[in-house]
Amino acid sequence: MEYLDFRTGDPIADTKAPAGPIAERWDTRRFEAKLVNPANRRKHRVIVVGTGLAGGSAGATLAEQGYHVVQFCFQDSPRRAHSIAAQGGINAAKNYRNDGDSIHRLFYDTVKGGDFRARESNVHRLAQISVEIIDQCVAQGVPFAREYGGLLDTRSFGGVQVSRTFYARGQTGQQLLLGAYQALSRQIAAGNVEMHARTEMLDLVVVDGRARGIVARDLITGAISTHYADAVVLASGGYGNVFYLSTNAMNSNATAVWRAHRRGAYFANPCFTQIHPTCIPRTGDHQSKLTLMSESLRNDGRIWVPRAKGDTRPAAEIPEDERDYYLERIYPSFGNLVPRDIASRAAKNVCDEGRGVGPGGQGVYLDFADAIARMGRAAVEARYGNLFDMYARITAENPYETPMRIYPAVHYTMGGLWVDYDLQTTVPGLFAIGEANFSDHGANRLGASALMQGLADGYFVLPATINDYLARHPKSEPVTDEHPAVREVLAETEDRLALLLSVDGDRTPDSFHRELGEVMWEFCGMARTAEGLRTALRRIPEIREEFWRRIKVPGSGEEFNQSLEKANRIVDYLELAELMCLDALNREESCGGHFREESQTPDGEAARRDEEFSYAAAWEFTGTAPVLHKEELAFEYVHPTQRSYA
């Protein structure tokens, strides 16, 4: 496989979003969508892969509607999906604060925040549904923060001017996920969901052009099994772990989406990755993952580095006039609350200048001294206590006394499987929801919008749109293991695992993953250049070639084998990484989380090039040079403007 080359194919378009005023499109679509007779729903089987916010809510809701759901997660319990780690909050256009918020404003903010690379119809629907999500979660018993009057509390988040973020201390993701997990548990108990925990999807079964099932591996016994259904829903999350070090969970992986891509689903905007500015810096080569701290910290913390290069004095000994509060200096109106990509890049720049702090100079200070002086320690503790505790535990430093050290880390992937307005991929019958798809965030995601999108897709969008597909395919021919398409997929899967086990080389899976991650962080991280990306595109095939020559996976495939799980995921990272770099190379503009050094304004800000790149890049897998299908993006309601935070 050699990716440096690609060709441009026919454009692609979303054919499902109705025409007409944007505020009516979702209603129109729901009305036009065909319905499945309630009595017939139990005859339809739907596979859902993943049990995070998107998968958990989709599984529960589809089962409530009467479908027979077969659900999978690689964790030992559906409750442990990585959505659980989201801290900050969830946006909703409730306007409870009477501060001028509205569905249209949330829509506007999201399109603008995504730097005009998202589809307007999808984003507007997301904003509309946001209000229903809060109602749904409250009804499930999600313990959102409340005020003394008993009403829900909100806060403003990520530089947005309205207070629309609902939260549950620093554990919003956990509480929302438990709500979805409980709803799912109810359906498991009722026999409507057949739950397969510790079972990982390894490939997609496509029969006669339609997604009809998956191949999965029981992680305890190693048994490979096939599961068939009338539709397959991927809710398997993002691919940030391509970078090795990220804020993703250790086992979050790209296998489900990548295998689906290899079976025909287009992969859109793979280069759109979000680097989060407020993570705890790494401490050494042993680092296995990075820990994010909610960016709400930037509401009250001030970011600075020493003015002088190589200043190794402790923070307390650096006088005020020798500190550079660089975000406040460069962006006076937004200060420390500039969008994530700007804050991240600025941190990289000052560290590249040699002004970084902490071990290796890969960090900047986030200082609460002023906040403590202004509000008092108790108020700071009430607001950020759990984050401070977490920081203190990891670094053994007391953030009430010495400033925190932070550094950016890969956090979220806006790219994903290309889906239409119905969240259907280019493989009929294959749907992708949550972070696994590319749909709503464009080139950059606003804070507190990931939870919103996952739940919107799972609770409301997919359960409505999948009806249309199932109604149009009322009778599916039964598929068995004897079908040639199934045999082929099974054989490929078994061969791949067998090969991994048989190489018996001299390098561990982690060593390859780390090497790949370093290449990606260096060349496809916060700032990208054509030259760097070409280097990465040369290096990745080399690593891949070496992987298949030198990988060592102990044990067998017929047992609980975490090394085999890991190695098999790395196989897919090694292929996906290449597509990410190719997409980044092709997109010769800076937009959102994708910053090309060649495309800057005279004062060093990201320069979008709308005339050439106002499209979503949907890549088709061919086995050799991939084919790029462009989906032109039209902006009827929010007119593209160059972002300005100065």
């Binding site: 109602d135 923060a145 409340r146 535990r393």
Partner: protein
Amino acid sequence: MKLNLRVWRQRNSGAEGAMATYEVDGISPDMSFLEMLDTLNEELILRGEDPVAFDHDCREGICGACSLVINGDAHGPERTTTCQLHMRSFRDGDTVDVEPWRASAFPVVKDLVVDRTAFDRIIQAGGYVTAPTGAAPEAHATPVPKAAADSAFEHAECIGCGACVAACPNGSAMLFTSAKVNHLNVLPQGAPERETRVLDMVAQMDAEGFGGCTLTGECATACPKGIPLPSIAAMNKEWLRARRKVK
């Protein structure tokens, strides 16, 4: 620094297990306990030996996957999850025992990995509010007194790791079950199913083969999220109340 690790090794649920000794060198105090095990596993793989299997995922103390008993303490000497335990809590040359959660309701899957699906079945028995998607009233229709909301949150912090069961000399799951029962039972949204919830969840808990509670308090001491011991009394109260109300 250097540690003398004694780790429980067991091939699968049917096999006999035993403690095996490993020397791990070059440990940085900034490593997490799991990163220290990663280092050991890298060495074991290169030596052609089976690496130590252990559950882990988020490594930021929230998913509840990690589950090691370290020197007899669930999650080790600090009050946190194993993934957030750092090697600075140990001294050079220490001998450290690493074992899986021990409870007959949590059978060992391999090495340090146990099967905690019993917890899922306790939730399935009633740890939810029946609120089908789309049927929810406007979120502000029912204000929730802040005290109730805070109490619900305090209990909802449970991450389902099972440290309470591992620490309990009786292998009891009362703290886990009470956390979930109380989370939903103090909220107005949970009120309609208040009685059936506690009765069914306790019945499932007992059916799973967890031991009874003798209020030793070990569970609350081990809990990385600080679910308080009085949770258990609160659930007992709910249970007795439900017994009176449900015939």
